[in-house]
């Protein structure tokens, strides 16, 4: 065992594909766009009756405009929170909400929100890191296989 700090916790959290409130989840995001529908019971999904139900039930039926995705930058440059995401034509379409370096993979990883049309695994996107467009791909999460202790 060794002492760790917030940096270690944050890289483990991101490798596991877990959201950090205030970053990947905000008052602007919904459980549908964040891919957290499992957190809403089946009955609530069908009947509503909870704060935000109008928006959420409609997104379940009609698909959300944006989706939270895993992002694997090519090369070694990390893309951190608030890095702009562009499509292959250079249009800014979204933003990185968590990003850093994954010690387990020895590579940079990120997550962020992109339009539904760019959310499929394998989609090529670009990350605007300090004014330079860098190639990246939408990938599935978790980035590192979960091995949670389940007792």
């Amino acid at each position: 065992m060794a002492p760790i700090g917030l940096g270690a916790r944050d890289s483990l959290r991101l490798e596991a594909g877990l959201c950090l409130y205030g970053h990947d989840l905000t008052t602007e995001t919904t459980p549908v766009s964040a891919g957290l529908l499992w957190a809403i019971s089946k009955r609530r999904r069908e009947e509503g009756g909870f704060p935000g139900a109008d928006v959420i039930v409609s997104e379940i039926a009609n698909k959300p405009a944006m989706k939270r995705v895993g992002i694997l930058p090519e090369g070694r440059a990390p893309a951190r929170e608030h890095t702009e995401i562009a499509d292959m034509d250079g249009n800014i379409v979204g933003e990185v909400t968590s990003g850093g370096f994954a010690p387990s993979l020895q590579a940079p990883i990120a997550m962020g929100y992109v339009p539904l049309s760019l959310a499929a695994v394998g989609t090529d996107i670009q990350l605007m890191v300090r004014g330079k467009a860098r190639a990246a791909k939408v990938v599935k999460m978790p980035f590192v296989e979960q091995r949670y202790y389940r007792g």
Binding site: G7, A77, G100, F101
Partner: protein, 123 residues
Amino acid sequence: MSMKYTKDHEWVSVDGDVATVGISDYAQQQLGDVVFVEVPEVGADLGQGDELAVVESVKAASEVYAPITGEIVDVNADLEGEPSLVNEDAFGKGWFAKIKISDSAQLEELMDEDAYKSFIEGL
């Protein structure tokens, strides 16, 4: 001439009219594992205090500033594939760039080894 240092923990080593720049051992220890270095382009003209490079560690991205004014005449291409050189040999193989000195008087304002040592002891 021996090394000179800035308050932002850059070091400068002068050979003729060219200064090699890197970050100090203290700086690399504070940063932790360096995972990426964005070096400037050869030919870039930098003023003293301009952004010279960006060092990314697991924890954060940090700017490295030009300790003196001048033109970038060489950059350390090895850092692209092996950014950990900054951790392993901050004062040697982990150098960032070489600057053609345009005003040698700027070097006089920098700290010498002893001054830098007492500077970091006071942090």
